[in-house]
Amino acid sequence: MKRPMTLVLVLLLALALPAAVFAGGQKEAAPGAAAAAAGNLERSLAVDTSGLKSEDGQPLIILQEKQREVPSRPANPDALPEDDPLHWWDIEFAGWNANKQNIPESPKDGAIGKSIVFIVHGDHPWTTACTLGAQKIANAYNMKFKPLSPNWDLAVQNQMIDQAINERPDMILLIPLDAKTAPQQARKINQAGIPLILFNTLPSAAAMDYCITWTGPDDFGQFRMLSRVWADEMKRIHGTSGVGVAYTQHAPGGSPYFARCWGPISELSGYAPWVKTLDKQAPGFEADKTMQLVSDWLTRFGRDLKGICAADDSSQALGIFEALEKAGRRDVVVVAAGNSKVGMDLVKDGKLFAITYQTAEGDGALAVQTAADWFNGKEIPPVKYLPKHIITKADVEDFYPPQW
């Protein structure tokens, strides 16, 4: 007992001393300070990223041509029924009424040479494509770009945020792992005086107070659009009586969990009230679990099940079609959030009716471009959406080769 304790004490003492010395020594000025050199702003403003392309041949930076109209917030959205679109106001329009706090002023000294830490949520082919897109813009501005992935672990993401703060970059860009934990994460970065951009998944409204802006897909908007196309197709095939649908949901906690299920439900309550929601479940992102879930639905609901809306167009979609094929059901209209290679191939084969255009590279690129715009002193809106588009068999070829 004594020996290990002595050993530990000696080790800690030996290491704590230089720690204290280094602690003082390493608090030097942020690396981005060099970017204040004369002419940097002019050079940065001259950088043109409009010609950059994603791997699918689409422009890397595409902004939504027309900003969404934001309805007034109801006094108490929670008091409204869940199938009322305004019930979801706080999630769908998070950020639009943010009460910004302690947001740093833009240095207006140009984006070239700035250091940014890019923290995503976890390892996934989508994330790889997203990081690639971000890297392309960072390279265009010669930024020091450090991507970090906590592999879906909140404790690790919190640790990475602390470490990023420790590095004192010029900006942190973050995909919060969970909408509800985002406020504390954003607040911590904000209190450290480091500019923050949140992107991709929508955090809860309180987090928006602490960031410069949020960029990413208009998930609710996309799914409201998708649900109309879906309802039209179901009406064409099955008419308007006895149309039951089910939803395979995204991972609980994040904004897609709500947007990709309650978006269509609340939209259809007005647009196609004859569509009845039979069930909604989150089977994760495994094809076999999704297949089992859909097989259970087919047993339980039989011919009443006329449509399935999936939160993911790869693993979930594969599981759905495996179950449908085993049951010999070709009449079920399936739509999903896309656009992975698997999803686009399924659309091309005529199995998946429609998917949303979710540019992964564009998502990362838009976040970094917005960071560059902020360093360049441009006006930044509280929310910046990616464009909305629904891919069907008619135009799926335009989006090949897939980004992931």
């Binding site: 290990p4 720690a19 906590p150 592999n151 404790a155 990475m160 602390d162």
Partner: protein, 354 residues
């Protein structure tokens, strides 16, 4: 005694020392490498970050070490972490932390008690019982929260959160203090008290322990209650500091804690191990992961290195067990006498030949 046997004994002593203290040495080496080469590693902010990161899993590892010492397994610690976080934060808005935190911790103890009773009294394998509890708790968490994470953004919740995260002195925050107190308390309890040492006996040889008059069932039940308690404390404190509890808060903790406790030298077969060693194993892994991030390396490198360390430790354990099994029952002093006799005969033959 000749020089060779002196050297042999010295070597044996060194090997025993290394074996007994391998986790401290491993920690020292990893720390030193990171201190020398990882950029910005030796800042008080970064070192405090490591300690704060360590706190949740280290707290849960205390109970898990005890579970392994008594020769059982607890797969439910990850979900107890989540459950306690959800209960602690979920009830806060109704009864404040003063009521919600004790309830969350008591809930953890109650879950441990159910696990313990089913294992000790119903004689069901701890693997099956705790796997069932894991699934049951996951269902309960999703039912209670309806798939929503719980977050608090009121000024008082942020005040508690800031207080738990504030640096008292470099490396030490209030949450770290709680972890260190628990680690210290359980280390002393297991090493220096008769009741504490009895846990080793129950895990090392259950039958002998029973024949010695120990209530082995009671020790098993208590170990599960402590495991539930420490997991709940870890979970609720983590949630309080983050002012949020996600539904997968403790999902990765189970594998992390199992790996660390084994790397720390606690035997899965029971009867061997220590809380302090488990703590240093968690700390070592966190230092390693921290350094990997500072080097700008990816998550895949982190998983790969952790896998190598775990594999090396398991191989080493297997080798020492093989060596032990080979020599079990042999009397070392007799073997030494035979060796000396052989040496003398060899020398005599050599002289005769000359």
């Amino acid at each position: 005694m000749n020089n060779d046997s002196k050297k042999g004994r010295g070597r044996e002593k060194t090997l025993t020392f290394i074996d007994r203290n391998r986790i401290f040495l491993l920690f020292g080496v990893v720390f030193l490498v990171m201190a020398l080469f990882a950029p910005r590693f030796m800042t008080s902010f970064n070192l405090t970050t490591i300690m704060r990161t360590t706190a949740m899993n280290a707290t849960a590892a205390i109970g898990f070490t005890l579970i392994l010492i008594v020769g059982q397994l607890d797969l439910s610690i990850g979900t107890i972490i989540t459950f306690a976080g959800v209960v602690g934060l979920g009830l806060k808005q109704y009864i404040g932390y003063g009521g919600s935190v004790p309830i969350a911790i008591l809930a953890g103890c109650a879950i441990g008690l159910i696990n313990g009773l089913l294992v000790a009294k119903a004689k069901i394998s701890s693997f099956i019982v705790t796997l069932g509890m894991l699934t049951l708790l996951q269902g309960a968490i999703y039912t209670i929260t309806r798939g929503n994470s719980i977050s608090l953004s009121s000024p008082d919740a942020f005040a508690v959160s800031d207080w738990l995260a504030r640096m008292i002195i470099p490396l030490i925050t209030p949450r770290v203090v709680i972890t260190l107190v628990l680690v210290g308390g359980f280390t002393v309890f297991l090493r220096l008290t008769r009741v504490g040492r009895n846990f080793y006996m129950v895990g090392g040889n259950r039958q002998t322990a029973w024949l010695s008059g120990m209530d082995t069932d009671l020790y098993t039940i208590v170990a599960f209650v402590i495991s539930g308690f420490t997991a709940a404390v870890g979970g609720v404190l983590f949630a309080m500091e983050g002012a949020a509890a996600t539904l997968n808060l403790g999902n990765t903790s189970l594998m992390y804690v199992i790996s660390a406790v084994i790397i720390g030298g606690t035997a899965m077969s029971g009867g061997k191990g220590g809380v302090l060693k488990s703590f240093f194993a968690i700390l070592m892994l966190d230092v390693l992961y921290n350094g990997i991030i500072l080097f700008g390396l990816g998550n895949e490198v982190k998983i790969f290195i952790a896998g190598i360390i775990l594999a090396a430790v398991v191989l080493y354990e297997a080798y020492t067990r093989y060596k032990h099994d080979k020599t079990v029952g042999q009397r070392a002093e007799l073997l030494k006498e035979v060796d000396e006799l052989k040496e003398r005969i060899k020398t005599a033959k050599h002289r005769a030949a000359v």
